[in-house]
C-alpha cells in the first residue's frame, strides 16, 4: 500500500527489531529504483538545500510511511550532508519514525485531559489485546500502537484514533470491539 519498499528481511525476529527500535539492529533494505527516485524527487522539490531537511523528511515519510537508515543515506547524499546529522534529526522529532507503521495505526491521546479521564487504562487494555508496546507493530503488520500528545478533542476525552478515524469517550471495555472492527476487514 503506502510502503513501496521491497523488504529483504534478514533472519531477525520482529521482537528483536522492535525492542531495539532505535536502529542498533535494522533489517537490511534494498530500495527499488522507483523508491530511490521518489526520495530524490522530494529532495529536489526543496532545491536539495540542507536547511530544508525537515521539509524533505516530511515529504519522504508522507510517501514511504517511514524513514529507515537506507532512505536517510540517499537523502544525505542528495543534500550533501552527513547521515549522522540526518539520523540526529529523525530521532529527535517524535513525528518521524524508522519502523514501518501497521496497516491500521492506532494512536491514543495521552494529553492531560485524556489522562485524567482514564487514557492510561485504555492504553493498558490496548497493549494487552495487541500484545505490543507503544512504538511497536504487531507481527502480522496489521496494527501499530503509538501515543500522541493532545489532539485537541478534549471534549471527547479519552480519545483513540485508528488511522484518521477518531473514537471519543473510549472505555477499556470498548477496545475489544474497536480492534475487532479492523480484524474483520481482513476476513472480508
Amino acid at each position: 500500500m503506502l510502503i513501496l519498499i521491497q523488504l529483504v528481511l534478514n533472519p531477525l525476529t520482529n521482537d528483536q527489531l522492535t525492542n531495539d527500535k532505535n536502529l542498533k539492529i535494522m533489517p537490511k533494505i534494498k530500495l527499488s529504483e522507483n523508491t530511490i527516485q521518489i526520495i530524490k524527487d522530494a529532495c529536489k522539490q526543496f532545491d536539495n538545500k540542507e536547511s530544508e531537511l525537515i521539509n524533505v523528511l516530511h515529504a519522504v515519510q508522507g510517501k514511504l510511511g517511514y524513514l529507515p537508515a537506507e532512505v536517510q543515506e540517499i537523502i544525505a547524499s542528495e543534500l550533501n550532508m552527513s547521515v549522522a546529522k540526518i539520523y540526529g534529526v529523525v530521532t529527535f522529532y517524535s513525528f518521524f519514525t524508522m519502523i514501518p507503521q501497521g496497516e491500521f495505526p492506532i494512536s491514543i491521546c495521552m494529553g492531560t485531559a485524556c489522562y485524567v479521564r482514564g487514557a492510561e487504562q485504555v492504553l493498558a487494555e490496548l497493549k494487552r489485546r495487541l500484545k505490543i508496546e507503544v512504538g511497536q507493530t504487531t507481527p502480522d503488520g496489521k496494527f501499530s500502537l503509538s501515543s500522541l500528545r493532545c489532539v485537541g478533542a478534549c471534549g471527547l476525552a479519552p480519545v483513540v484514533m485508528v488511522g484518521e478515524k477518531v473514537y471519543g469517550r473510549v472505555s477499556p471495555q470498548q477496545i475489544k470491539e474497536i480492534i475487532e472492527e479492523y480484524q474483520e476487514e481482513k476476513a472480508c
Binding site: 516530511h58 529527535f92 522529532y93 485531559a113 485524567v116 479521564r117 485537541g152 471534549g155 471527547l156 477499556p172
Partner: protein, 597 residues
C-alpha cells in the same frame, strides 16, 4: 451572507470534526437539495465555537438557535421542523443543568455569559475559508491603518501602551519585543509565528488558526511593518492538518487580494508568509529551539544572548510571537490601546484563552478577561465538577506549571498571581481534577512527558528528570520512603537552577507544587502505603465479599480481561494474577460485594 434567508453554521473545529461534523454538513446539503432549499439556506463550516463538551454544534442564523450534540440523523428533523415550519427542535437545544430548561441562544448560557472574546472574536462566526467574511468583520482594516496612517514607531508605541504580553507562556511584553527587533540593524529581518502548540491539553492556537487564520496573517504583516521585515514564517505542528490547510487557503487568498505580496495597499511595504512544519518536539516552543528547527536542525535551545531579536533565523534579527498574541494585535489597532488596557488587571492586560478540560462539566475553549477568578471559570463557566464530585485541584501552565488547590479558587488569574501561587499561565491549559485523582501520579505523568521531551543537551534536565521520575514511580509502587520527599525537592531545585532553557527550568514545577499543596498525599503513600485517591494500582486490591455476592454475574460479564470466575447464583472470585485493576467490577456491582483494599 445577504442573499440567503438562513445560514447554518457547523462547527468545524477538530473536536467537532472528530464527532462527525463533516457528515452533518453533507447531510444538510443533501436534504436542502432534496427540498429545493439550497438557494435559501447556506451551509457554512466555521471554526471552533468553544463549547466542545456539547459538540458537534450547529448554529442557525438569523435566529441564533444553538443546537448541541447534533448527529447526522437529526438533520432531516431540523430542516423539516425549523426551516420549513419555523419551530426549533426542542430536544436538540442546550438544557441549563440547574433549571433543566432549554436555552436556545448562546447569550443565555452560563458558559458564554462571563466570556469576553477578543482573540477568538471570529471563531464560530465566519467561514475561515473566505477572506470576504473576515474583511466584513473589520479584517485587514488595522493593517491598512498602520500602513497608510501610522509610522512603525507609532504602532509599536500603541502595542506597548496596550500592555499586551506574550500569550505563549513567558508573558514578555510584546511591544518591547517588537521595539528591540526594530532597533536591530540588518538588511533582512523575519517575523515568526510560533504555532507549535505542544502543551498537552491546550488547543487555543490551533482553534484560532482553524477558525480565524486571517487575523494571524494580518498581525504578522503589521509586525513586519513595525520591525522592518518583509518575510514571515509560521512554524506549525504537522499534527494539525486542518489548521495547516486553512492557513494555506488564507495565505493564498490574501495574496490574491493584494494583502500579502508587493506594495501592499499601494505603499512601499512588501510582505509574504511561508509555512514551516514542526515534527513533534515540545522544546521547539522555546524560541531558540524553534529557530534551529526552522533551519532544519535538531530543535535544541541555545544560550541567550544573543536574543532572536538580535540574531535569530538565518542569523538575522527575528521576532517570534505566539498565535494568540498575534490574534490580539488587529483589535488593539482598531479599538485603541486605551480600550484594551482597561480590560484586565494592573500588570496583565486584555483577555486570555483557556482550554478548560478534565473533570469538568463544560469542557471547551473559553476566553475571559485577566483577573477573572478560578472559581468563576470552574464553577460558572465550567459548570462545576463532573458527576457532582469534590473539586481537588486545577493544573495550569501544562508540564511547566503547577497544581493549585481550593485556597486559590478566589485568586484573580493573571501572569503574576499564578506565579506567586506556584504555578504559571503557560499557554493556557487548565485541567480540573477531582477527588479521584492522585497527585503523585499527576506529578509522575508530567515528568513522563518532560522525560520524553527533554532534548538531552543539559545533564540536569536529561538525567535529573529521569531520577525524579524513578523516585515518583517508586512512591506510586508503594515502595517510597519518607526521605524521598526531601530528595525530590532537593533534586528539583538543582534542575531548576542549572538547566539552560525554560523546559528544564520549569520541569520540576509539577513535583514541587504537588509536594507543597498535597504533602499529606505523598506522606500517605510513603508512610501508610495507601493511595488516598485509589489510583495507584500497585496499592490496590479488588476482592469479592462472599457474603454479599449473589452470583448475578454482572461483574463476570463486564470484566474486560476475564479475571472473574464463578457459577451463576454462587459467589464469584477475582484472579489477582489476571486482574488489571480497572475497577469495572467495583463500579458495576449492585450489592456492594466488590471490596477495594
Amino acid at each position: 451572507m445577504s442573499n440567503y434567508k438562513m445560514n447554518v453554521l457547523i462547527c468545524g473545529g477538530t473536536g467537532c470534526k472528530a464527532a462527525e461534523s463533516a457528515n452533518i454538513q453533507a447531510r444538510f446539503k443533501n436534504i436542502l437539495e432534496e427540498k429545493s432549499l439550497e438557494d435559501e439556506v447556506q451551509v457554512i463550516m466555521t471554526g471552533c465555537f468553544g463549547f466542545c463538551e456539547q459538540g458537534p454544534i450547529v448554529k442557525i442564523l438569523p435566529d441564533n438557535t444553538f443546537y448541541v450534540r447534533v448527529t447526522p440523523s437529526d438533520i432531516e428533523e431540523i430542516v423539516m421542523e425549523h426551516f420549513i415550519k419555523g419551530r426549533p427542535v426542542e430536544r436538540l437545544l442546550y438544557k441549563d443543568p440547574k433549571t433543566k430548561e432549554s436555552v436556545p441562544a448562546t447569550k443565555g448560557m452560563d458558559f458564554y455569559k462571563k466570556q469576553l472574546r477578543i482573540a477568538l472574536r471570529n471563531c464560530g462566526f465566519i467561514n475561515p475559508e473566505r477572506i470576504e467574511e473576515y474583511i466584513a468583520r473589520d479584517g485587514y482594516l488595522a493593517l491598512a491603518t498602520c500602513l497608510t496612517e501610522k509610522t512603525p514607531a507609532e504602532v509599536i508605541g500603541e502595542i506597548k501602551e496596550s500592555g499586551l504580553r506574550g500569550r505563549g507562556g513567558g508573558g514578555f511584553p510584546t511591544g518591547l519585543k517588537w521595539e528591540l527587533t526594530a532597533k536591530s540593524v540588518s538588511d533582512k529581518k523575519y517575523v515568526v509565528c510560533n504555532a507549535d502548540e505542544g502543551d498537552p491539553g491546550a488547543f487555543m492556537d490551533r482553534s484560532i488558526l482553524e477558525g480565524d487564520p486571517h487575523s494571524v496573517i494580518e498581525a504578522m504583516a503589521i509586525c513586519g511593518y513595525c520591525i522592518g521585515a518583509d518575510e514571515g514564517v509560521v512554524y506549525i505542528r504537522a499534527e494539525y492538518p486542518l489548521a495547516i490547510e486553512r492557513l494555506k487557503i488564507a495565505i493564498k487568498q490574501a495574496r490574491e487580494s493584494g494583502l500579502l505580496g508587493k506594495n501592499i495597499f499601494g505603499t512601499e511595504f512588501n510582505f509574504d508568509i511561508e509555512l514551516r512544519y514542526g515534527a513533534g518536539a515540545f522544546v521547539c516552543g522555546e524560541e531558540t529551539a524553534l529557530i534551529h528547527s526552522m533551519e532544519g536542525l535538531r530543535g535544541e535551545p541555545t544560550f541567550k544572548p544573543p536574543f532572536p531579536s538580535q540574531e535569530g533565523y538565518m542569523k538575522k534579527p527575528t521576532n517570534v510571537n505566539n498565535v494568540e498574541t498575534f490574534a490580539n494585535v488587529p483589535v488593539i489597532i482598531n479599538k485603541g490601546a486605551s480600550w484594551f488596557n482597561k480590560i484586565g488587571t494592573e500588570k496583565s492586560k486584555g483577555t486570555k484563552v483557556f482550554a478548560l478540560a478534565g473533570k469538568i462539566n463544560n469542557v471547551g475553549l473559553i476566553e475571559v478577561p485577566m483577573g477573572t477568578t478560578l472559581r468563576e471559570v470552574i464553577y460558572e463557566i465550567g459548570g462545576g465538577i463532573k458527576d457532582g464530585k469534590e473539586f481537588k485541584s486545577v493544573q495550569t501552565g501544562g508540564p511547566s506549571g503547577g497544581c493549585l488547590t481550593k485556597k486559590f479558587l478566589d485568586t484573580p488569574i493573571d501572569y503574576d498571581n499564578l506565579i506567586a501561587a506556584g504555578s504559571m499561565m503557560g499557554s493556557g491549559g487548565m485541567i480540573v481534577m477531582d477527588e479521584d485523582d492522585c497527585m503523585v501520579s499527576i506529578a509522575k505523568f508530567y515528568l513522563e512527558f518532560t522525560l520524553e521531551e527533554s532534548c538531552g543537551k543539559c545533564s540536569p534536565c536529561r538525567i535529573g528528570n529521569k531520577r525524579l521520575h524513578e523516585i515518583l514511580d517508586k512512591i506510586t509502587q508503594g515502595k517510597g520512603k519518607e526521605e524521598d520527599i526531601e530528595r525530590l525537592q532537593e533534586l528539583s531545585h538543582v534542575i531548576k537552577d542549572t538547566s539552560l532553557c525554560g523546559l528544564g527550568q520549569s520541569s520540576p514545577n509539577p513535583v514541587l507544587s504537588t509536594i507543597l499543596n498535597f504533602r499529606d498525599e505523598y506522606l500517605a503513600h510513603v508512610k501508610d502505603g495507601k493511595c488516598p485517591a485509589g489510583q495507584c494500582k500497585a496499592m490496590l486490591k479488588y476482592t469479592i465479599n462472599e457474603e454479599n455476592c449473589t452470583g448475578c454475574t454482572l461483574c463476570f460479564r463486564n470484566c474486560p480481561v476475564g479475571a472473574i470466575t464463578g457459577e451463576r447464583r454462587a459467589p464469584h472470585f477475582i484472579d489477582q494474577a489476571l486482574c488489571i485493576k480497572c475497577g469495572v467490577c467495583y463500579e458495576k456491582c449492585k450489592f456492594d460485594a466488590v471490596k477495594l483494599a
